[in-house]
């Protein structure tokens, strides 16, 4: 077949990184990104972008670990290169603290992050309400910079990007040979996935440049993540809530919880409130599918449902999705050969 035409729907961290992986694994492909939102208006832009994995109940652990490992290696190399500042990728050290003993002493990712070890007694003294803790160094992808950097890399490969609301994947049949569905929360409507549900997160982005360490409560609800220019204070996990409007009571409450972990935040300035809907699922859907309608086939690769862990596994899932696109291309080439004979 001629240049395979691939449409990637979605321009958050998953859509853009998947598109980039496709251009790397299939340089002869023509890749186009279609999305109704681009940075700074995607769910990814709200996220802190911390590489601390979320555990998906129904994805095998070895697969999650592989995704995280690939993502960590990829970003580690960027963080130490001249591109680091433009990409917004940087190392950050800190603490995860627990009021009661953590479910697992050693999370599956403890040997992938750097320097993972239990916190010392002296370190725990800073957190009188917490009795256990883990110290480690990990990576953070600041958004919008990271998404803008991905867009720049894509443009350099000749990838086109268009603002377009895709209401039905079949719209793209004829224009494109393969469709890659990276629509995050949008997949609920686009492909009717009832297993996908929003987990609302409200965060504050504040100016507090003296905060150099991250602090996270092991319950996942309270966290302080220092980024390049702003510190992200979180958060909430409201399952089933679709509201994108900031709640003032919640803002106050998040601020108070964070100040109790880090009192100096009382002096934080320029508080910006943001809301995102984590596109959550029991397992991330990275899967090939061939849609069929009236004798016409449309190969689709899904890559959505990353919930709270999008940044942590984005490159790993993008690699896997790109590999699946490669399989779709082989299948198409096989069948077109077959048709010729």
């Amino acid at each position: 077949m001629a240049l395979p035409k691939v449409a990637v729907v979605g321009a958050g961290v998953i859509g853009l990184s998947t598109a980039l992986c496709i251009t790397e694994t299939c340089p002869s492909c023509s890749v186009t990104v279609l999305s109704d939102q681009f940075s700074p208006n995607t769910t990814s832009d709200v996220a802190a972008g911390m590489l601390i994995p979320h555990t998906y109940p129904d994805t095998p652990i070895h697969r999650q670990k592989q995704w995280f490992k690939e993502t960590f290696s990829y970003l580690f190399a960027i963080s130490n290169s001249a591109e680091a500042s433009e990409a917004g990728v940087h190392l950050v050290s800190g603490w995860q603290v627990f009021k009661s003993p953590p479910k697992e002493e050693l999370p599956f990712w403890s040997d992938i992050v750097l320097g993972f070890r239990p916190m010392s007694e002296a370190e725990l003294q800073k957190f009188p309400q917490h009795r256990f803790g883990q110290a480690f160094t990990t990576l953070k992808c600041d958004c919008p910079p990271y998404l803008l950097w991905l867009e720049k890399r894509l443009k350099a490969t000749g990838t086109q990007m268009y603002t377009r609301k895709v209401a039905d994947l079949w719209e793209l049949q004829g224009e494109y040979d393969i469709v890659v569905n990276c629509t995050g929360m949008g997949a609920q409507q686009l492909v009717g996935d009832k297993q996908l549900f929003p987990v609302r997160g409200q965060v504050l982005k504040v100016h507090a440049p003296w905060v150099k360490l991250f602090i996270r409560d092991g319950d996942g609800l309270t966290y302080i993540y220092p980024g390049v220019h702003r510190v992200t204070l979180g958060g909430t996990r409201e399952k089933g809530s679709w509201s994108l409007s900031p709640d003032t009571g919640t803002t106050r409450e998040i601020f108070d919880r964070c100040c109790s972990l880090e009192p100096s935040l009382q002096g934080a300035q320029d508080i910006e409130v943001k809301v995102g809907l984590r596109p959550s699922r029991q397992c991330v859907r990275v899967q090939r599918e061939v849609l069929s309608q009236g004798g016409v086939k449309l190969p689709v690769v899904h890559n959505y449902g990353h919930g709270a862990g999008g940044f942590s596994v984005h490159r790993g899932t993008a690699n896997e999705a790109a590999h699946l696109v490669g399989e779709c291309i082989s299948a198409l080439q096989g069948s077109s050969l077959g048709a010729k004979l």
């Binding site: 070890r117 003296w210 360490l213």
Partner: protein, 348 residues
Amino acid sequence: MRVAVIGAGVIGLSSALCIHEQFHGLVPSLELEIYADHFTPHTTSDGAAGLWQPYLSDHGNLQETLWNKETFDYLLGQLHSPAAKEMGLFLISGYNLFTEPVPDPSWKNIVLGFRNLTPKELELFPGYSYGWFNTALMLEGRSYLPWLTNRLTQKGVKFFHKKVESFQEVSGDGVDVVLNCSGMRAGHLQPDPELQPGRGQIIKVLAPWVKHFIITHNLKSGIYNSPYIIPGSEFTVLGGIYQHGNWSEENSAKDHKSIWDSCCQLLPPLQKAKIVGEWSGLRPARPSVRLERESIRLGNLQGEVIHNYGHGGFGITIHWGCAMAAARLFGSILQEKKQLVTPPGPRL
């Protein structure tokens, strides 16, 4: 009881505060005066990055190690107070890098979470095969000195902008004790061949993505003559110059290039950092800190001088321990002069 403090760097201001806090209640007539020709932001303390970290070896000087520990513990205790931000005090983690294994430092149990670097971490720093990771504190002079100044002013301490040429100059008129915190220029007040400048130069850059301090060590070239990167609250300090005996406070183009090239090699992302300033200063270096009493003839009278200078490149690191030691020396002077009718302590 009048006390004249010479010097308004971190040592002068903190010693004054410590003495005032401990004795103003016991000696109602206590009057403190601070004399200096340079005040914040023009002191040596203002130019320092502000990282709490002693030298690699204490050369058996246990006293200094104790003062360092007292300072760290004091600052750690202040971390959660509302004043922390105003003081310029915050936690910071980072790396010390070596080209060969070295013994653990005297301060390994003072800082938080001290450990050796893992092989994966060392991959970040080609050319270095060994290192430490720990969490320490930053105390930025630009904020700390004004904070100390405000506290002192509130307590009625007076400041005088004056270049002091002799102890006699400030000790006429009922001044009983002089606190000599004159840092690099102590030799002008009383010759001290052991006090020598350890010239440093730094480049200030905007690199807000750098969250860790990175200090390299070259055991042959000596302390601070190897690149270091220290991120502050407003800008990041790049350094790596220590020139013993060099009195120049002018920025050198050669040193600039050396700092820039070596720091960019250490941390490639710095190539994109914007330079926002440059500064040279003289570390008041001495084989050991001079912290002791001396009786001096001041005209017809005997006066007491408490020397507190020679803190080299670890002034901020050791300041509070020294301030407390200076306050103890002051206390013993008071006792001798019978200014303290009852020594501080529980009444039986």
